[in-house]
Symmetry: none
Subunit: 325 residues, 2 copies
DNA sequence: AATATTTTGTCTATGTTTTGTATAAGTTTG
DNA sequence: CAAACTTATACAAAACATAGACAAAATATT
């Protein structure tokens, strides 16, 4: 697991000593004599160390206890030191291992995670799924996480659900995990002060919320301020939320095509209730099935990830013009 | 333009000192020397602080007690501070809490937050609600947060929903905010290796998930490994989840009493499907309405917070005996 | 093997910075 | 008016800094 490399967290020598196990005097001596660490200084001259320095000193301490001479290892890289310690515990070989991280393509990484995540969904292992997601966010970044991992994964789940490989409960579990992830994603890029507001939900009868969740996360990443309502809400409730928040857009996800015309009815009612000042966006696997109603009420059908992003951008620009101009 | 700056919460330095545990003089010194906080001023020059400032000072106090130098951490963001404390508390988890706020004060603080949170719900302000929750978790700790704030708040929302002061959509919004909070709470106390597993959901027809969410959070805090499924699931799906995860308990929340006998039927079916090896727990505002079925299938009715906790403890003990003995 | 040299951890002496607290004198608040 | 707040300054303990000394251990040389 990649530990959050806190550039922010900085320590004075006492803390470093306590945590690395190397006495303060010795830490200074190692710096003076062999440049084992290179702490920055406060304006008053006190040494300020990073987490990396602590890790380094810890390893150096271990290595010297193993019989290594400090002068010989003081300047090794962190990776080399790790290698050293590791080899020690097995054999006595002290080859300076070349530690070159293989440069893999993001697509490859995303695909790997995709398989792992899908396996976790199939095995109904929520903890594993969350852990994979967390790692993927760190490794890929929010943007690529959504575009290369989350979006394809949800499509896959949608398909497999139809074939019967997955049950509804698999989707519920996955939704639940993703919902708690929104907290990380939101904190990764805090939304700007006067961001445009948007409501995200699914109309009544539409119980699947994965599509809506994806839309909400995407929009949040594009700088929108989202109020997410979950699935299966009647037109009046959705419209009330739009009114309460003074949102300038409403996104609905439709993933299941039913032959009764409840969804069509609801869409018409929603459009009527929110009026023309609020932009209605409809996406999802089954949105095209309602092409008729959608064009009737003047709602463009979303053609996938980049199309949705483009529309969001356009609307945001429009919003800023009307509020700032 | 209401940004994160809380217009509502305003405290003078004495209150801040009491609640954060940092003496008034020191609060001023930290501001003067390191800009640790930036309170606004009254027209007469008195400092006025927000809930966020209190949370911040509380965390700074904790961090300095852990050996961090105030000058090095004073300007860290709230999230970074939380991270710092979290990483630290893993290593020295068994420290006697020096700066414990008295129980009586906690009640008062919780009540204040309760009012603010309810106001945010009423105003349909998801951002404010989340922010209040976050601050409250820092100030009260996870346990008191649930017992003194979340639990009463959800009861209040349940009541006001019946009187018509709140709409269904208010509840949806609140659920959504709380769901994303589960991430923080889960990370505050990571669950032990061989924790007993539990499924949490609501039966079909029960659309309100606040009670289920509360149950899930409580159980997680008691050391259980939870798979949360959301609301409105048919018996077969819930039973499938129990089977997949090999859970030893299933908790259902019932908050709405309906005259049709769908819930009763579902409860009987669930009991049949999961058998006697899996403990079924039923709680929620309307659970007592189904007393008949519940005693028929041998399910005790939950009598509130401490009762639920007690049952959880009992089951966990039982689980550990059967797995370790 | 005996002797010399280098490495390495620790210690001392002396001065500076950091940090919590205290005091004095004036201002705001209820 | 009293209580609580303000600023400004002062002060002392704790922590850190540098420079150099010193002895045990490791290594090299005779």
């Amino acid at each position: 697991m990649t530990v959050t490399n806190d550039d922010t967290a900085q320590y004075l020598i006492k803390t470093v000593s306590k945590r690395s196990g190397v006495k303060s005097d010795l830490v200074r001596a190692w710096e003076r004599r062999y440049q084992a660490v290179s702490p920055v200084r406060t304006s008053g001259g006190h040494r300020v160390y990073t987490d990396q320095d602590i890790a380094r000193l810890k390893l150096l301490n271990q290595a010297t206890n193993n019989g290594h001479s400090i002068s010989q290892i003081a300047q090794l890289s962190l990776d080399d030191l790790k290698q050293l310690i590791k080899n020690e515990s097995i054999t006595n070989a002290l080859e300076p291992a070349v530690n070159e991280t293989s440069i893999r393509d993001k697509y490859q990484i995303a695909e790997d995670y995709n398989n792992k995540c899908y396996a976790a969904v199939l095995a109904f292992d929520a903890q594993a799924l969350e852990s994979h997601f967390e790692n993927a966010i760190v490794e890929l970044g929010s943007e690529a996480f959504i575009e290369l991992l989350l979006s394809p994964l949800l499509s896959k789940i949608g398909e497999r659900w139809k074939t019967g490989e997955l049950r509804p409960v698999h989707e519920h579990m996955t939704s639940s995990v993703i919902r708690s992830l929104t907290y990380i994603l939101r904190n990764n890029n805090p939304c700007p002060a006067n961001a445009p507001r948007m409501i995200v939900s699914t109309p009544i009868g539409q119980l699947h919320e994965l599509g809506a969740l994806l839309a909400a996360i995407m929009a949040e990443l594009c700088g929108w301020q989202i109020t997410y309502l979950g699935a299966n809400l009647p037109a009046e409730e959705i419209a009330a939320a739009v009114k309460y928040t003074n949102a300038c857009a409403l996104t609905l996800s439709i993933s299941f095509a039913s032959e009764d015309n409840i969804v069509a009815k609801e869409l018409r009612r929603i459009k009527k209730l929110i009026g023309n000042d609020v932009t209605l966006i409809v996406g999802g696997r089954a949105a095209s099935h309602y092409q008729g109603v959608l064009s009737e009420i003047g709602v463009p059908n979303i053609q996938g990830y980049s199309h949705f992003k483009e529309i969001l951008k356009q609307l945001a620009d429009q919003h800023h013009k009307t509020t700032n101009g």
